[in-house]
């Protein structure tokens, strides 16, 4: 008798074995490559880039102008940076079986804090125009990141201490956060008049956009933390089985809180990039729907929403895929309205591919009973 569906545990090893058997036997290296978890995200990205190149002849061209690199690829990297940073924070949260839907609101709060503290005016000093900020920029940035981390701490305490479901715990901040951001900006769009601040979102370093370096730095630091220390293993252990992790002596609650704090911090960094890029802070619209894009990026990167194994590189790839998709839609001349429909289609396809049930039914459909007379293997 088949066990009831919800009681049947999914055999990951068995599923892999079946994939391997039905895989390409002639080229074992290819099937091994296809099993690598970054294989499908990379394929998607390459496919999208190729699609771009066919529709837009100048897609691969990079130009050196005014000491900076210009081109579609650089543009994609630059625009994907805030999403990638948020997705990195989200990856860790999802790895602990959690989810953080408040990141969009935290982006707005951090941007509003920084913009309010910097403000900035153009004054004439000794016949020269100079920008003067309300508070030193470093103080404003630290304050914005601290507020964002505080938001993360609030989420983390609700999840780990109070024991709320992550989606609900973060829903509270998602609802209230936009109100708080508008409270900070007093319902206005705060415009920043302070040139040094624009470097974060618009500046260049070594010919590349500054935001790309920020995203890369967050990635590298996180990667080292996860691979050079046991933290990555701990986070995976919590995601696979929180009770077992606690019994094994892991400080499960502390790690969970820290993961949410980091996610809030990452959202704060993204908030700085976004507000610096548009040179203003809009409590209502900054980072709108960013949480959904971030979750999508993590999912596209091969991290399962059920927690456990995670891939930081996958999430960065996911963010690049989303941004490339958006750029593709613009560059091939499709009206941008279709963007959401395409995104929906991508989400549907990805979640179906991640479903063991779907793969099993496709396999059953492909490997129908052989016709009578067909050679028996």
């Amino acid at each position: 008798m088949r066990p009831p569906r919800s009681l049947r545990s999914l055999p990951p090893e068995g599923a892999h074995a079946a994939d391997r058997q039905s895989g390409i036997r002639a080229w074992p290296w290819l099937s091994r490559l296809a099993e690598h978890r970054l294989f499908w995200p990379t394929c998607t990205l390459v496919l999208l880039l190729a699609l771009n190149a066919t529709f837009n002849a100048g897609f691969w061209q990079l130009q050196w102008r005014d000491g900076h690199l210009y081109g579609s690829l650089i543009d994609i990297l630059n625009r994907a940076a805030p999403l990638a940073v948020v997705a990195l924070g989200m990856t860790l949260v999802i790895a602990t079986r959690g989810i953080d839907i408040s990141v969009g609101a935290v982006v707005a709060i951090a941007g509003a804090t920084a913009a309010l503290l910097i403000g900035g005016t153009l004054v004439l000093k000794g016949g020269q125009q100079t920008y003067v900020s309300r508070t030193p920029m470093a103080v404003a940035i630290v304050a914005a990141l601290a507020v964002a981390a505080l938001c993360g701490l609030w989420n983390g305490l609700l999840v780990a201490r109070v024991g709320m479901q992550p989606i609900i715990a973060t829903l509270i901040l998602m609802v209230a956060g936009r109100g708080i951001a508008q409270l900070i900006t007093n319902g206005q769009i705060i415009t920043v008049y302070y040139a040094p601040y624009f470097t974060i979102g618009n500046g260049f370093l070594l010919g590349l956009p500054f935001a790309v370096f920020i995203a890369a730095a967050v990635w590298v630091v996180l990667h080292l933390l996860m691979t050079r220390t046991a933290l990555g293993l701990f986070i995976q252990a919590i995601g696979i089985n929180p009770a077992a992790a606690r019994l094994a002596g892991l400080p499960e609650r502390l790690i969970t809180v820290c993961v949410y704090v980091f996610c809030g911090f990452a959202a704060g960094v993204a908030g700085l990039i976004v507000s610096s890029n548009v040179k203003s802070a809009d409590g209502n619209n900054a980072g709108l729907l960013l949480e959904l894009d971030a979750i999508l990026a993590v999912t596209l990167g091969g991290t399962l929403l059920t927690g456990g194994r995670f891939s930081l590189a996958g999430s960065v790839l996911g963010a690049l895929i989303i941004q490339t998709l958006t750029s593709t839609i613009y560059s091939i001349g499709v009206p941008p309205e279709i963007n959401l429909v395409v995104k929906a289609a991508v989400v549907f396809v990805v979640m179906l591919l991640q479903s063991a049930e779907f793969r099993a039914s496709v396999r059953a459909w492909v490997q129908r009973r052989p016709l009578p007379g067909a050679p028996v293997r």
């Binding site: 998602m174 936009r178 319902g187 929906a344 989400v347 979640m351 179906l352």
Partner: protein, 330 residues
């Protein structure tokens, strides 16, 4: 229960599951009472009926959402389905000159099919409701923009007639709209579905423990699909009421409404883990959200964003109470 009653002879016998709902009713009475004392003109039948009129769509959507949350799921697509409904209605009526009598059944069928499709995906492929309904939200909003990126206002005589219809209550002292009437009817249907049908009992069983429900031989798969189908129908009906309310179709209508609906359900005392809650609680959750908005507009000195903060705070308090309640449950 009898043991508890014996230990505390003076404590009235109240089922622990009713406590959160009673809490919601109490919060509503306290807030409304505060408003009546603090602001002149607040305590009138029309102000209270306006709560229902202005939040009729939220109430209808909340009824569907209650069933989804009772079954242990979540539906993030409701706001987008409302927007799609307004958009399709407006396009059919204004650009293709359909009559309201033909357009409304079509959009209702469309929303129902949309919900059924998501429910089928969730059940058949064991996908997470969060992701499926998220994709559904993208899809529905995207379809809105495919029809038009601008707002389409409705000037059709049939629609405006229904929108302006007022049903007098208490003599001529106050009146309600068709939308508010529909909301009351949907709450009644929701209560009947939850407590008077096999479907409702199965929903509670699934939310309580899905594995047990399967072992009991309950039609878990079919019921789950039906829950999302019902939520889709409620969203579409909410969209129809929203169309009457706004008399326009727009892809940015009802942005974030799914959060308000979830908040109303939770504040109304339904446990997010599923299995415990009442449809009538959701009605009070919606009324609480409405009364907060009314209070803030009556006050006049508070800015509109305080609504979001207060709703967040209420959500926090009710979630905290739920956790305490769960911890006390054996």
């Amino acid at each position: 229960m009898s043991g508890v009653a014996a230990a505390h002879p003076l404590r009235p016998r109240i089922d622990a599951r009713v406590v959160p709902v009673l809490g919601a009713v109490a919060v509503f009475i306290v807030t409304a009472g505060f408003g009546s004392v603090a602001y002149g003109g607040f305590f009138s039948p029309q102000v209270f009926l306006n709560l229902l009129i202005d939040n009729a769509f939220l109430c209808i959507v909340g009824v569907g959402m209650t069933f989804v949350i009772l079954s242990g799921g979540i539906d993030l697509s409701v706001g987008a389905v409302i927007a799609l409904t307004t958009m399709v209605s407006a396009a059919l009526v204004e650009q293709h000159h359909w009559s309201a009598a033909a357009a409304i059944p079509l959009v209702l069928a469309m929303g129902t099919a949309f919900g059924a499709f998501m429910g089928w995906l969730i059940t058949r492929f064991r996908l997470q409701p969060f992701i499926v309904t998220l994709a559904g939200m993208f899809l529905a909003r995207g379809l809105c923009y495919l029809i038009s990126i601008d707002s389409i206002s409705i000037t059709d005589a049939g629609y405006t007639a229904i929108a302006q219809t007022r049903i007098p209550l208490f003599g001529d002292a106050a009146s309600i709209t068709v939308g508010a009437l529909l909301a009351v009817v949907m709450v009644a249907i929701g209560i009947w579905l939850a407590h008077g049908t096999e479907f409702g009992r199965t929903v509670y069983a699934i939310g309580g423990n899905e594995a047990s429900a399967v072992l009991m031989g309950l039609p878990v798969g079919r019921t789950t699909v039906l829950v999302y189908t019902f939520s889709g129908l409620c969203s579409a009906l909410g969209g129809v009421v929203f169309t009457f309310y706004m008399l326009s179709g727009y892809g940015l209508h009802a942005v974030g409404l799914e959060l308000d609906a979830i908040a109303a359900v939770v504040i109304g005392g339904t446990l997010l883990t599923g299995g415990v809650g009442y449809v009538i609680g959701t009605l009070f959750g919606v009324l609480i959200l409405g009364v907060i908005q009314t209070l803030i507009s009556f006050d006049g000195s508070l800015s509109s964003w305080w609504t979001r903060i207060v709703i967040g705070a209420l959500l926090f308090v009710s979630c905290l109470l739920q956790r305490l309640f769960e911890a006390r449950r054996p």
